[in-house]
Symmetry: C2
Subunit: 296 residues, 2 copies
């Protein structure tokens, strides 16, 4: 059984690590916040003093960190994964970061004999706890095959999308569509409400047709209830869209609507709503139109 290292025990990393422990894998963990390791260590993991130490005692190292700079630091830094890794180690970065950063980190890893996948997830904390995340992986097929069982302990859908960086490309595509679908719902429903029509009736009239979506089904009831407790925070969606725009600019693809919805998210953050669920995008329109989309 492979020895696994896990770096980054935040809201997502902690339950993912616990699911690996529950599956019987020997687990070494590290987080820059020592207290973050406590519950996982209590559940049987070994605390390490650095990412380097995690790598030194692992066959597979998983990173689950906020963004590209943190992954670079944890992998390429002085006390990072590559400093402690033996040749042949597999690094799985499950963070959501810029795809171009994934490719650069993979090149540096390859120079040290370390093989890498990028494998970001979607689904949020509840699915991390249940082990039912959707995992989108990029990297060589043989490396993917070697760790597919491990990924299967954290996710119910594990898809190899393509080469290194592809997982994060799929994740960015996902996040662009989700943000825009929420904004579309919001723009339409504030218009309908201000026009004097019950938004719940509009929802009922259109949900079964071409306007139907998972976003509409998941978020419209929360919008009607005025419930913007996260869920997935607006400030995290800003990070993903910033990575999408950076990628788009680097490779030459215009993304005018993603750019527009990013500005809306930024406006909400400036207004103190960065910690709200991304369903709270509706508040941008509600505030400007001076009306609330609520059940009549």
């Amino acid at each position: 059984m492979k020895r696994i290292g896990f770096i980054g025990l935040g809201i997502m990393g902690k339950p993912m690590a616990r699911n690996l422990l529950a599956a019987g894998y020997p687990l070494a963990v590290y987080d820059i916040v020592p207290a973050a390791m406590e519950t996982v260590v209590a559940a049987g993991a070994t605390a390490a003093a650095s990412s380097r130490e995690v790598a030194a005692q692992s066959d597979v190292v998983i990173t689950m960190l906020p963004n590209s700079p943190e992954v670079r630091q944890a992998v390429l830094g002085e006390d990072g994964v590559l400093a402690g890794a033996r040749p042949g180690l597999i690094l799985i970065d499950m963070s959501s970061i810029a795809p171009l950063a994934s490719r650069e980190i993979a090149e540096a890893a390859a120079a040290r004999g370390v093989r890498m996948l990028d494998a970001p997830v979607s689904g949020g904390e509840p699915k991390a706890i249940q082990g039912t995340l959707a995992i989108m992986a990029g990297g060589p097929q043989d490396v993917f095959d070697e760790v597919k069982d491990i990924l299967g302990k954290m996710g119910s859908s594990v898809t190899r999308v393509g080469d290194i960086g592809s997982g994060n490309v799929a994740k960015l595509a996902n996040q662009m569509i989700v943000a825009l679908n929420i904004a579309a719902m919001s723009e339409a429903m504030v218009l309908a409400t201000k026009a004097g029509v019950d938004p719940k009736k509009v929802f009922e009239a259109i949900r079964g047709g071409l306007a139907g979506s998972t976003v509409l089904e998941a978020k419209m009831p929360l919008v009607l209830a005025g419930n913007f407790k996260p869920g997935f925070r607006i400030e995290l969606h800003i990070k993903d869209l910033m990575n999408a725009l950076d990628t788009a600019h680097a490779i030459g693809v215009p993304v005018p609507l993603s750019s527009g919805v990013l500005e809306i998210l930024q406006a909400l953050k400036v207004g103190g709503k960065g910690g709200d669920d991304h369903g709270g995008i509706v508040q941008f329109y509600e505030d400007l139109a001076r009306i609330r989309v609520r059940e009549h």
Copy 2:
């Protein structure tokens, strides 16, 4: 059994009228293009010489016309419905027009004792033929109840959304969401493709999550096949979004993303693609990024 009049026998009106004939209703019809009446008359309808003549021999008059000006002309014009209507007649405007126009026309109708619903549809020609349109109605409950059976011959989902104009408000909300969901899919998939990832794999990886939608399921296979045969034409979606923007401006709701996607549709029309299906929005991005989203 109520005598029905039907004005506007285009791509949608013709099969809708035929379904009413098939249900046994006596039907008088009118279209400014005499040839448009031929097949419906052959199926048993009576051809009239004007909208006024249609009204004179009907208990219920249905209009199915391109936009607000055509409905105003057919209802309020010298030879229009109101000129021929007896008090108590019910006018059902099933065109997709500006909600404020519906309200104005209903006021003029009320002054002549004519009761009115706005009842736009979604679903396109195939569902018009099958009689399975989604019908979103606005107007008094008692008027709706009186003609609900008639509407049920043309649609499988018949919903009263609220007062007069509400049907068109729901339709505009529907069209805003559909256009933006298609654009979101397009922006994301062109980005993924240009980043070197197979768009079909991205589709498979994200369709089951929060990015899933009816648009993604219906349009992504056509985008992958490069098939933009309508379906619902870009130039018709432009009309609907123009009505959405007019409404938004009139009542004070900002719609920055709908405005953005309208510009994209206008660019496609200028480029000669106004007759393509709205799934062809992807071509705006493909042309600029110099890549095609196609199955690898």
